[in-house]
Each structure stands twice: as structure tokens, then as C-alpha cells.
């Protein structure tokens, strides 16, 4: 048995379009997490930084950038990039280091500053780059979100009202969240009146990009106990698995799926949480709440199924029964989700972990999920990256 690793502290910089350097968000979040943990910066032995691709060299070496900004003090450093799963991968590295007995306490930080407007591919003619090819063909990010949304309508009877209801629910959840960027309530009618972007999804149903920063302090259980911490949250499991060939998911940025002519077809997204559950020794039926990647309102429904909250095709029922709102059986995106945050890629998976940490400690204020014991995150992004973290009280 490897030793238990716990979250001692969590901290965030509010999401927004602040236009500041990403380092500022990261350091703000890190200091908040250290304070929350009751650990001094100089006690941190290892820093795992989530890289940002949009902020030059300091972003590629984020672990060092944050360490220097907090004050060089001889700690070990690593930086990783794994698209949407970046934060989980950095967390997994810190956990492994602690499990291996190479350190007792570590800091994990992710932060991003996003450019204005749409995310566009790099300039130049690059017909070998799938990301270039798909934009050339007119296939954008909302295309992928909407293909899944439309399929839910045709296969499972999802309605435009269901999709709008997700947005309304998450907007209500995030309304009181001091870290959320959008804190405005919506009605179903308002969402349905927003302009159609890619049928059947509308402007208010597709997530924006944001600036933001999130951090956690993780430690061995022994270290946390020695510190006398009464607010530990145990890391039950972390999954950062790759897809399996043949991946049957229609996936950004590809214009075709794998061919399953000579292999079995697998759903990558449905496989991600499985390993985290197995490590944690819990099943989806024990989950108290979940934070999942609602890049679009409709995608949240897919996630109910990917993380096992219901069988495939039953997500609409879960939503309509009110099971996934705060007060329901298994609230999803109590933080407000991406609908209220917008995506800050290298910070987002950590933000999900921060929310679960607050919830499992019973410190989530107006959006507290009652008797939260088991939390799960789910996210997935470009180039075969995805992750899931199970936290236990």
C-alpha cells in the first residue's frame, strides 16, 4: 500500500479577463493555498506547475516561474502541459513524489492569461497539422460540441430546453461563488433567445476563455497529522489515462475518428473516471458531487454518463428530476462550472479540485452541498488528454 496523500490547502485567483500577467494569478492562488494549509512557502519541497502555451517562455517553465516569483528557496521543480488535464497531471506528479517518499509537502499551481477574442490556430499554411486542416474546412470548436448535442437530441430526446436548463442551473450555482467570472442568473427563455452559434447550441451555452489561477498544497497524511490539520481531504484517485485505439470519439482537432476496421472501438471519455474510481475504491453510486467539463451546456449531459452517474441515454432524466442541482441527489458543477468560469486551461482541472476541497470540508458557503463525502472531477481536451480526480472526506 502506498501512503495516503491529502490536500492541505486550496487557493484561487478569481476568474475573469483581468489582462494581467499569468504569474500574478498563480502567485495569488499559491499564497492563498499556503495560507489555507498553514504551511510556509519555505517548507515546500516540490513545486508542480501547469504550463501555459500563450505566455512565452515563462509559461513553458511555469513551475520555475512560480517558484522564482514566490522566492527561490531550493525546492525541486517540474512543469507539465496536458491541455485541459494539465492541473491533474501536475497533481499526479506531486502525489507520486510524496507516495515515493521523496518529499512530504508540495505545491501545485496552474494559471493562464488568455488572448482577447476567439482561439484561432497559428498562422501559416500547415496542411499536415490537423488543427489547421479542420479550420480550413470550417470546423471550429463549437462544431464538435454541437455534433454531440444534436446526437443527444436525435438518440435520447434531449431538447433545447434541457440544454438551456443546464446553463440556468450552473448560473444559479455560481452566482455566489467569489471565484467565478460570470455571476448572473439566467432564465431558460433568455438562454434560448441568445444567438444560435452552431445548431443546436446558442451563444450562452458555449463557454468562454478566461484568465485565472488555482493552487493546492498537498502532503503526506503523516505530515498533515503532525501539523494538526483538521481539514484534510484525501486524494482517493487520479486518472490521466490516454485513449485506447480505436477511439470512437469525434474529437478536436481531428476530422476523422480512428478506424475500428481491425480493432475494437472504445469511448475515451467514458474510460477516464474509471481508473480514478478504482484507485479510490469507490463507485459512482457513492459520489456526493461532481465537477465536470461543461464546455457546452449539452456536454454536461454526456459527462453524467461518462462518470457513471447514470446509464447512457438517461442524463436528461437526471437533469429533469433535479438530481444534479444543489439540493438534488448528486449536484454537478456546484461551483458554477465552465458556464460561470470560462476556461483557463492550465488552471481549470485544479479549480475543479479546489471546489471539491471546499465542498468536502463544508466550507462552500451558499453553494454548500450537504453531507459531501465523495467528490469526482472529469475533464477532457485536445490530443488525447483527459483526467479525473476522486477526493474523499
Amino acid at each position: 500500500m502506498s501512503r495516503d496523500v491529502v490536500i492541505l490547502g486550496a487557493g484561487m485567483h478569481p476568474w475573469g479577463k483581468w489582462g494581467k500577467n499569468f504569474v500574478e494569478y498563480g502567485v495569488h492562488a499559491a499564497r492563498a493555498a499556503l495560507k489555507d494549509a498553514g504551511v510556509s512557502w519555505q517548507d515546500i519541497e516540490f513545486v508542480a506547475g501547469g504550463a501555459t502555451m500563450r505566455n512565452g517562455y515563462p509559461g513553458y517553465v511555469a513551475g520555475a516561474t512560480f517558484s522564482q516569483a514566490l522566492g527561490w528557496q531550493g525546492n525541486e521543480i517540474m512543469t507539465c502541459y496536458a491541455a485541459c488535464a494539465t492541473g491533474s497531471q501536475a497533481l499526479a506528479a506531486a502525489r507520486a513524489k510524496i507516495q515515493a517518499g521523496q518529499c512530504e509537502v508540495a505545491l501545485v499551481v496552474g494559471a493562464d492569461t488568455t488572448p482577447k477574442g476567439f482561439l484561432a490556430p497559428q498562422k501559416g499554411e500547415r496542411p499536415d497539422d490537423p488543427d489547421w486542416v479542420r479550420f480550413r474546412l470550417g470546423i471550429t470548436n463549437p462544431t464538435y460540441f454541437s455534433l454531440y448535442a444534436q446526437r443527444r437530441k436525435d438518440l435520447y430526446g434531449a431538447t433545447d430546453e434541457d440544454f438551456a436548463t443546464i446553463k440556468v442551473k450552473n448560473a444559479e450555482h455560481g452566482f455566489s461563488n467569489e471565484f467565478a467570472r460570470y455571476r448572473k442568473k439566467f432564465t431558460v427563455e433568455e438562454v434560448l433567445a441568445s444567438p444560435m452559434v452552431a445548431s443546436p447550441l446558442r451563444l450562452f451555452e458555449i463557454c468562454a476563455t478566461s484568465d485565472g489561477g488555482a493552487a493546492v498544497v498537498v502532503a503526506s497524511k503523516e505530515y498533515a497529522d503532525r501539523l494538526g490539520s483538521q481539514r484534510q481531504v484525501k486524494i482517493g484517485g487520479i486518472s490521466t489515462v490516454s485513449p485506447k485505439f480505436a477511439s470512437a470519439d469525434v474529437e478536436m482537432p481531428d476530422i476523422a475518428t480512428d478506424s475500428a476496421a481491425a480493432s475494437n472501438a472504445y469511448s475515451f471519455r467514458a474510460s477516464i473516471a474509471q481508473k480514478a474510481y478504482e484507485e479510490a475504491g469507490v463507485g459512482p453510486e457513492e459520489v456526493s458531487l461532481a465537477e465536470v467539463y461543461d464546455l457546452s451546456s449539452a456536454m454536461e449531459l454526456d459527462w453524467y454518463e461518462y462518470i457513471g452517474l447514470c446509464p447512457q441515454g438517461d442524463a436528461e432524466k437526471l437533469l429533469r428530476d433535479g438530481d444534479t442541482r444543489i439540493g438534488g441527489r448528486v449536484p454537478v458543477n456546484a461551483s458554477g462550472g465552465l458556464a460561470c468560469f470560462g476556461e483557463a486551461v492550465p488552471a481549470q482541472a485544479l479549480a475543479q479540485v479546489c471546489e471539491l476541497t471546499m465542498q468536502l470540508r463544508g466550507e462552500a458557503g451558499d453553494r454548500q452541498v450537504s453531507d459531501a463525502k465523495v467528490g469526482v472531477t472529469g475533464n477532457q481536451g485536445l490530443f488525447g488528454h483527459g483526467s479525473s480526480v476522486v477526493l474523499l472526506r
Partner: protein, 129 residues
């Protein structure tokens, strides 16, 4: 060009038979196959709509949009023999109201845009009559 004979060209692994599209592969990606030899093969020119959507806003470059921008529809189409899904625009004039999941479509060529006097042609999906 003979419309009825229009095919997408993919690659097929000589050892395991897995198809690839786009066909610019160097190594077989089937984990139980270490082949690096492929045949260029025509892919099925008919398939079944897996799902569909449209674009109501002009995409960023490198998309070359007509001025004014004309919305267009997109389909993800499942090819039975290859057991894969390929994305593409639906033929000009076809909207999301004209198609359903499960509908049969076939491949056509269409000029996506003209730049410096040169036509840029791509595949599009046309519902079968």
C-alpha cells in the same frame, strides 16, 4: 471529373487492414501492429449521418469565407466498411433542417473558395435521393 467516381483517398495498413484518413501516416497506429507499409485506397463514398450541425458565424482563418459570410451545415458521417467517422461540410444549400441522424449521404466535390484565381475544392456530403 466524374462525380459518381469521386472518392476520398485514405491509407490502409498492409498488415492489419486499419484505415487512416487523412492518409498521411508513417506508422500504423493500431497498438497491436508495428507495420509501416500502407496502400492508398479509395474510401467508401457513401455513409450514414452520425450527427450534424452548422456554422452561423464566420470561422477564423485559415477558413476562407465568402463576403458576406454564408452559413453552412456540417455532418459527421459514419463509413460502414472502414468503421470510422469523417467530418465535412454538407453540400451548398443543405441545412440542418434537411438532414437527420441515420440519413444516408454520398460524397461530392464542391469549390469551397476561390483565391488568386484558383479554385479550392473539398469534399462535401450530399443527402441521397
Amino acid at each position: 471529373m466524374d462525380e459518381a467516381d469521386t472518392h476520398l483517398i485514405g491509407s490502409r495498413c498492409k498488415r492489419c487492414g486499419t484505415y487512416f484518413f487523412p492518409g498521411n501516416v508513417t506508422f500504423c497506429r493500431n497498438p497491436s501492429c508495428d507495420s509501416d507499409e500502407f496502400d492508398a485506397v479509395p474510401l467508401s463514398r457513401e455513409g450514414t449521418i452520425w450527427s450534424y450541425t452548422d456554422a452561423q458565424y464566420k470561422p477564423p482563418e485559415p477558413y476562407v469565407a465568402a463576403d458576406p459570410f454564408e452559413p453552412y451545415a456540417i455532418a459527421a458521417v459514419e463509413l460502414a466498411k472502414e468503421r470510422m467517422i469523417i467530418l465535412g461540410q454538407l453540400a451548398k444549400g443543405v441545412t440542418v433542417d434537411d438532414v437527420t441522424t441515420g440519413m444516408q449521404v454520398e460524397l461530392q466535390l464542391q469549390t469551397l473558395f476561390t483565391k488568386d484565381g484558383q479554385d479550392y475544392v473539398s469534399w462535401v456530403w450530399q443527402p441521397k435521393r
